[in-house]
């Protein structure tokens, strides 16, 4: 696409992950829904932290992980999200910039501390998340630089942004700015519980054309249309949005656009270690292919490749160059 300074600009909750191992009994005792993301307040956050084991901290956030993944593929990318001017906020700022991402959203000087997510990884590699949104909730329409938005081929939004009130307005403002500049707007449904909270609003965004591209996993899609029938949900999705990629874990992904359907198998893995970031990194590969004009099969393969890398180690950001990985796998973009 001509005149684009960025392949993708992502807007999302700026979060530092605190990752610890836990067993299923711990999740049960804490009343946590395995595999999901629960929003927690400060009091609950300190209670969980007190009870959980030793952790490691690393920058996270769904759309932020995707944008860092895109940078690793060699894409030109930017991120918009809110941290506080505290130690974890500085960690987030450092990591995303060090990954090659343009990140200029001013940090909040006061108010709640930088968002953190307690990620509990069970022995089966599944992750269960508890997010304290903190400063991320302070993202407001004023943080949206419409000039920057206009310079990105795709604006990518996370469904989780629908949780903080002001961020929702920022989300809509960004989508409008993108469309005014003739750009595409992509949205990830984020989480089945998130879809449960905002089903009607998400459908409205799709049907009104506020978003052009949907990324979702099987559980999110089923939750969106309140059906257990995957094929039926896929047909409904086909009518509601121009383009969508639906991931199905080890079954790979399905890309739909109008009447066209492209199924792409998952990339092989040696060992599942931690599913944190799987969907985020799939989105990175898929959007990279899309921004560079690749066909749907290649987009799906790139997504699968990036997801496979991230689930074979602890943490939600790639540990090796995804550009090199794609070259090694012989995927040409």
């Amino acid at each position: 696409m001509a005149n684009t300074r960025f392949d993708v600009l992502g807007i999302g909750n700026a979060i530092v992950d605190v990752i610890a191992r836990a067993d299923d009994a711990f999740l049960g005792k804490q009343g946590m829904a395995k595999g999901g993301m629960a929003l927690i307040d400060e009091m609950r956050a300190s209670q969980i932290y007190k009870d959980m084991g030793p952790g490691t901290e690393s920058s996270g956030g769904s759309a932020a992980n995707t944008i860092v993944g895109l940078a690793s593929f060699g894409a030109k990318v930017a991120f918009v999200g809110k941290v506080k001017d505290d130690q974890l906020g500085k960690v987030f700022q450092h990591d995303i910039r060090a990954a090659g991402v343009a990140f200029d959203t001013p940090a909040a000087k006061d108010g709640a501390s930088t968002a953190c997510c307690y990620v509990l990884v069970t022995p089966d590699g599944e992750r269960t998340m508890n997010t304290y949104l903190g400063a991320a909730q302070a993202l407001a329409p004023g943080d949206i630089d419409t000039k920057m938005i206009a310079e990105a081929a795709i604006v990518y939004l996370e469904g989780y942004l629908w949780d903080p009130k002001d961020a929702k307005d920022a989300f809509v403002a960004a989508a409008k700015a993108a469309h005014d500049a003739g750009r595409k707007v992509a949205l990830t449904l984020s989480d089945a519980f998130c879809v449960g909270r905002y089903r009607d609003e998400f459908l409205d965004l799709m049907r009104k054309g506020t978003v052009d591209i949907i990324l979702a996993n099987e559980a999110e899609l089923k939750s969106l249309y309140q059906t257990e029938d995957f094929d039926k949900a896929l047909e409904m999705l086909r009518k509601d949005v121009k383009l969508a990629a639906v991931t199905r874990s080890e079954k790979g992904c399905v890309v739909i656009e109008g009447a066209k359907t492209t199924a792409v198998p998952a990339a092989p893995i040696k060992k599942l270690v931690d599913t944190t970031g799987a969907g985020d990194l799939f989105a990175a590969g898929f959007l990279f292919g899309l921004a560079r004009g690749a066909n749907h099969e290649t987009c799906g393969k790139l997504g699968g490749l990036a997801a496979a890398e991230v689930i074979q180690h602890i943490g939600a950001r790639p540990e090796v160059s995804l550009k090199d990985l794609a070259a090694q796998a012989g995927i040409k973009v």
Copy 2:
């Protein structure tokens, strides 16, 4: 040993590690001595952080890593060290307590922020450390609970403590309290550069009997006696301290006590990933054996086992139960 509430009580710099990958060219450009630990001020810390790649944060600190390793073996342990009451200070407090360590040193309310160490891991698995001591420097004799010291079979001190002025006084106060209660005092020489800074003082501590047990690696021992001849250095060490364990990387370790010498081979590893914490975890296994009355060969084996675990993953703290690992290896204590 009778009347001991703790097997080992460790005193050290309370540090949060920021671990990132780097290549040798980066170390060269930054003027860093590969494999060593350099003390840095706040300005240099922010410059290094700006230049280095994305990192992950996890609790560290030499003696703290050792104490956490001891807890993983099933030992009763305590730690004394100073953090600030900030986000990284809370991370340190959480992690060490969650590992089962008694940690009650009050956090500093003001002054410098919690200490951090930029750990750069090169592709060969070697780590190069840059430490901003921050709040750790505020450890003072007033933080030494002599009653707690008297309840520990062994008090373990890190040579790095000799850097901050007040901590040095705390160190001496702790050693005196331990000896007054009939306990043993162990010291790790920490780092060849650290030995270079305090050679005479360390020798003095040994010769005056302030410390009973020395832990060192080959480079530190050679630096202590300013010789390239390992055997010669070992003979000098034998005269200066009652008991010592000297590690020699893949060549294992040598334990000396009077005329007695016990050489123990290193535990096998599959792949060297990150040497951060190798010496700290050797100390954990060795001191665990010692506190439980094991012979020198068993002490050395336990040390080698713990070191082998920690160098096969990123980070300086064990990821699996060292107690289970020892049981699987058939090492009985």
